[in-house]
């Protein structure tokens, strides 16, 4: 037994001799490691803070990392980085635990048992592992698929070019893909990049389904803007507080923060948006200079007559109690007039609003409102970032839609694709079980290489595992999307070296060296990612703009980019799109009601978990242990039902319930949510991992399930994305119950400082 202070006190108590101060000494304090070499020792000083990027978990935040004696200690937002301005999301620090995770794959592995058996043997990088990769690439690269996380920047470009030159293709993977959102933005604004919203200067925001304060794209940036929107310094003096309306069938974090939450029938968001457009046009409320004739091919409000509030109000399903004593149609008219009279206004939409069979229509109708409000490209409106200043950098991720993945599965089954490369993507877990992607991969004819750092359902099927460095150990860059409205390239540098018991290799470097050996020097002329980045920096230096204008030489610029975390030019603004003629007619012509898969009693609304997202962070214990903001549940899959509905069904908190659709069924722990609409069942994604780190897989199947298994793989949006919000499900108790692992109730709820009205002040006008 080791002598610690506690033990000592215990003994001292027993022998009644008395306590002598003895020290708390942690084992880790006893040995020191010195790093083999400090990366680019540019920041002189006490603890070194290195600027880099926040990796996949943060969708491209700029961060600074505190490094002491070669060990990363803390990740914080980079105050200089234009996208997140020193702030960070709840997911930012996950990178530290990924870096020092006990379950990281330590080196190259080769499969020895049958596929999926988990039997691997350790091999050496040189020559064994790379020889196998080389051999298989030569034999099978024609038609191969490279599946990665959504990649942008240099690595995105390398992946694209590598896959294409080898005769295959590269697809980014996201469980809740953004293909429908992209298609809608393309349709309304003719832009390939996603927009940014100047919420901090807006006065009125209507958000349709987009959980932009939690998991939607750019949530950290939008949260900072939200803070200003509420109580920015300017607003405090002027008393003009921003007003947020959130239209969403689920009580999300954004709904919780909205001044007005309108639960709508899932998939009807587009109808409401067009109805607002009708009111705006028919009452001539559109912003100054908006050419309504061009938008409607000269028809005016008549083009949208079918969407007049009186026509459609009854179908939206907005509860009567929220009509403020008026008719449903009047409520819509009020909403339209507030939207127009309290500008600058923004209409934004995403997440569940776009995940219906009519999702693209919904989003297009929503975003078209911004033309009427005159908020495209204006302050307090929406804006686009310019394309990457370097033509060859990928400035938007290529993400596959559900349709694309079905195609990939077919190609593998038919033998057209005989090789699959996977990097930090887990389609076996992240695609609906009904797509049977696992069975497609689980064939002897296909050779699978995984470059992931952690074991997961997809990597477990691989023939060869070549673990990549995690983002704190590797080089990279990023063209943020959504960007801040001007040109930005973020730099990612290795801030620590891998620990001595780990032997990962850079994924990008391997692709580059393979390309060279396969004679593709012309498309990929670099030998390492670092070299590619340096050549990019040189090209940036030659532009002479932005950060480059402060640099004395290309080397100087390189150092500046590493120090401040990237390159940017605030003068290089993005395009201001103008409305295509007849836009509203086109959208109205696409209108159709959402189709629901299945016949259950409830609308099923899966959603991305606040910290685990679609499950990509399920192996990080910090992320598992953070309470969900609304339900405060941790570590488990909970099923949200309206509290009254649940009690009518005889269900109580902690009961194990089964949720079933046509495609499958899962079980989870019931959390009665007083704010959920009575006809909705909501289930978070993220859990239900079966293979991988203990942190991800420890829950049993009653309390840890994958909500994606409920989805029907063939239920698609117009643009081929998964219509994941358009299902109906039935819910039934199983008779079992478990204690729910939630934070709520651990500290006696005495509503601190919150006797009615105390913490809330009432203002009667806005």
């Amino acid at each position: 037994m080791k002598l610690t202070r506690r033990n000592f006190l215990a003994w001292a108590g027993l022998s009644a001799v008395g306590a002598v101060a003895c020290d708390v000494i942690q084992d880790e304090e006893l040995s020191l490691q010195s790093p083999a070499s400090l990366p680019e020792d540019l920041v002189k000083g006490r603890d070194n803070w290195y600027a880099t990027l926040g990796g996949q978990a943060t969708d491209g935040e700029g961060v600074i990392v505190r490094v002491m004696e070669g060990r990363a200690k803390k990740i914080q937002g980079n105050p200089k980085y234009p996208v997140n301005q020193g702030k960070q999301s709840v997911r930012s620090e996950a990178g530290l635990q990924a870096l020092y995770h006990p379950d990281r794959i330590s080196g190259p592995l080769q499969r020895t048992g049958p596929r999926g058996s988990g039997q691997y043997r350790s091999i050496q990088w040189e020559p064994e592992a790379l020889d196998i990769l080389r051999r298989e690439l030569r034999a099978r690269s024609q038609g191969m698929v490279l599946i990665t996380e959504p990649l942008r920047g240099t690595l995105g470009m390398i992946a694209d070019r590598f896959a294409t030159s080898a005769g295959g293709r590269h697809l980014g993977f996201e469980a809740l893909d953004d293909t429908t959102y992209r298609a809608a933005i393309k349709g309304v604004f003719d832009q390939d990049r996603l927009p940014d919203f100047d919420i901090s200067n807006a006065n009125y925001v209507i958000s349709f389904g987009a959980d932009f304060l939690s998991t939607w794209k750019g949530s950290t940036r939008l949260s900072t803007a939200y803070g200003e929107f509420r109580q920015g310094n300017k607003r405090q003096t002027q008393g003009s507080r921003g007003y947020l309306v959130h239209v969403d069938p689920r009580f999300s974090m954004t709904a919780a923060n909205a001044d007005e939450w309108l639960p709508i029938r899932p998939g009807m968001e587009g109808y409401l948006a067009l109805s607002l457009a009708y009111v705006i046009i028919s009452e001539g409320m559109q912003a100054e200079g908006v050419d309504v004739d061009a938008l409607t091919n000269g028809q005016g409000a008549a083009a949208l007559a079918a969407f007049a509030p009186e026509q459609i109000a009854g179908q939206l399903g907005i509860p009567e109690q929220l009509h403020e004593g008026k008719s449903a149609a009047e409520k819509i008219r009020d909403l339209a007039s507030n939207f127009m009279h309290h500008g600058p206004s923004i209409a934004l939409g995403g997440d569940s609003a776009g995940a219906h069979t009519n999702g693209q229509f919904n989003l297009m109708a929503i975003y078209a409102l911004n033309y009427l409000a005159g908020s495209v490209g204006s302050g307090g409106g929406m804006r686009f970032s310019p394309e990457s200043p370097l033509g060859n950098l990928a400035d938007a991720a290529t993400v596959g839609s559900a349709q694309d993945w079905a195609g990939v599965a077919n190609d593998i089954r038919s033998g057209r694709t005989r090789m699959v490369l996977v990097h930090d993507a887990n389609p076996v877990h992240g695609l609906p079980a009904s797509m049977a992607f696992e069975s497609a991969l689980n064939r002897e004819e296909v050779f699978i290489v995984s470059f992931s750092s952690f074991m997961d359902e997809t990597t477990a099927l691989a023939d060869l595992i070549l673990p990549d460095r995690v983002f704190l150990e590797g080089w990279g860059d990023d063209v943020p999307e959504p960007g801040p409205g001007y040109e930005v390239i973020g730099m990612q540098q290795p801030v620590v070296n891998p620990l001595s018991d780990l032997d990962p290799r850079s994924f990008g470097d391997i692709l580059l060296s393979m390309a060279q050996e396969m004679g593709q020097e012309s498309v990929l002329p670099w030998t390492s990612v670092e070299e590619a980045l340096k050549s990019g920096a040189e090209a940036l230096y030659n532009t002479g703009r932005g950060t480059s204008s402060h640099a004395a030489s290309a080397d100087d610029l390189w150092n500046m980019m590493l120090r401040q975390g990237g390159w940017w030019d605030e003068n290089a603004r993005g395009p201001v799109p103008s409305a295509p003629g007849g836009l509203l007619n086109n959208i109205a012509a696409q209108a159709r009601e959402p189709g629901y898969s299945g016949n259950g009693d409830f609308y099923l609304l899966p959603f991305a978990h606040n910290t685990l997202m679609d499950g990509r962070l399920a192996h990080i214990p910090w992320m598992q242990g953070v309470p969900d903001p609304i339900t405060t549940v941790t570590w488990q899959t909970w099923v949200e039902l309206n509290s009254s509905t649940a009690s009518q069904m005889g269900l109580r908190e902690g009961d194990i319930v089964s949720v079933a659709t046509d495609a499958g069924s899962i079980s989870g722990v019931l959390y009665p949510n007083p704010a959920l609409p009575p006809n909705v069942v909501a289930v978070p994604l993220g859990q239900g991992r079966k293979v991988g780190s203990e942190y991800a897989t420890s829950g049993d199947s009653r309390e840890s399930s994958n909500a994606l298994d409920l989805l029907s793989a063939g239920h698609l949006t117009e643009s081929g994305g998964l219509a994941w919000a358009g299902h109906r499900a039935s819910v039934s108790g199983t008779g079992e119950s478990l204690k729910i692992a939630k934070f709520e109730g651990i500290f006696p709820a005495r509503q601190i400082g919150h006797t009615a009205g105390e913490a809330v002040i009432i203002v009667t006008n806005h």
Partner: protein, 222 residues
């Protein structure tokens, strides 16, 4: 019953109890007054025999006279002194013999040790040094502030509870400042926690009180 029949076992029990109690008291007294207790915590075996005599020893004594803060780079800038990166070892030794790093050490025994360093460098492996000087985990000792006090400012004489307890003429040179607590490391082949240095709280507090540095608990306790 005659009392003498029971006196012997009773005496044995009494003696044993006295012995145990005396033993415990002795342990506690020795732990309190000897530092380190029982000589535990003397120089631990290091993965590489790094001779401070050669590196930090003065030129007259056959060393190369490298300043402490050249390798322990953070010591004048932050709380921890920090151990240098392997890179730094290699950097200097490359200046000595650019062709052959290992040959930059003179004796064959030293070359064997140098080989270890070179291997670590080539494998990108850190050297796991064992900590020699340690203060309890709940105490924050900021090297930088103390070095600044010892090496900057007007000439003055200060009674120092550290080291030999004699008043010292400040300011000191950096190397002298280090040796106040760490002893003459430059003359140690194997770094020892120097004897006679008390690391009790009273030592810190006395000095802080005398110099009006502040004695709020959170100055030192973290």
């Amino acid at each position: 019953m005659r009392p003498s029949a029971n006196i012997i076992p009773l005496a044995i029990v009494g003696l044993v109890v006295t012995g145990i109690v005396g033993f415990l008291v002795a342990i506690i007294f020795i732990s309190w007054f000897s530092n380190p207790p029982f000589g535990l915590g003397n120089a631990p075996a290091q993965p590489i025999d790094f001779p401070h005599t050669v590196h930090a020893g003065s030129v007259e004594e056959g060393g190369v006279g490298i300043a402490c803060e050249f390798c322990h780079r953070n010591v004048t800038e932050g709380a921890a002194a920090t151990v240098p990166a392997v890179e730094q070892c290699v950097f200097c030794h490359q200046q000595i013999n650019p062709e052959n790093l290992v040959a930059s050490a003179s004796s064959s025994a030293d070359q064997a040790q140098m080989q270890l360093v070179v291997d670590k460098f080539n494998d990108n492996d850190p050297i796991n040094w064992e900590r020699v000087h340690r203060i309890p985990d709940h105490v924050r000792f900021v090297h930088e502030a103390h070095i600044r006090f010892l090496t900057e400012g007007q000439p003055r004489t200060v009674a120092m509870p550290m080291g030999d307890g004699q008043p010292r003429q400040l300011p000191l040179t950096n190397q002298q400042a280090c040796s106040v607590c760490h002893g003459d490391v430059a003359s140690m082949n194997e770094v020892q926690p120097t004897g006679g240095q008390s690391l009790k709280m009273g030592t810190c507090v006395d000095c802080h009180r005398e110099l009006n540095v502040g004695t709020d608990c959170t100055i030192c306790h973290k």
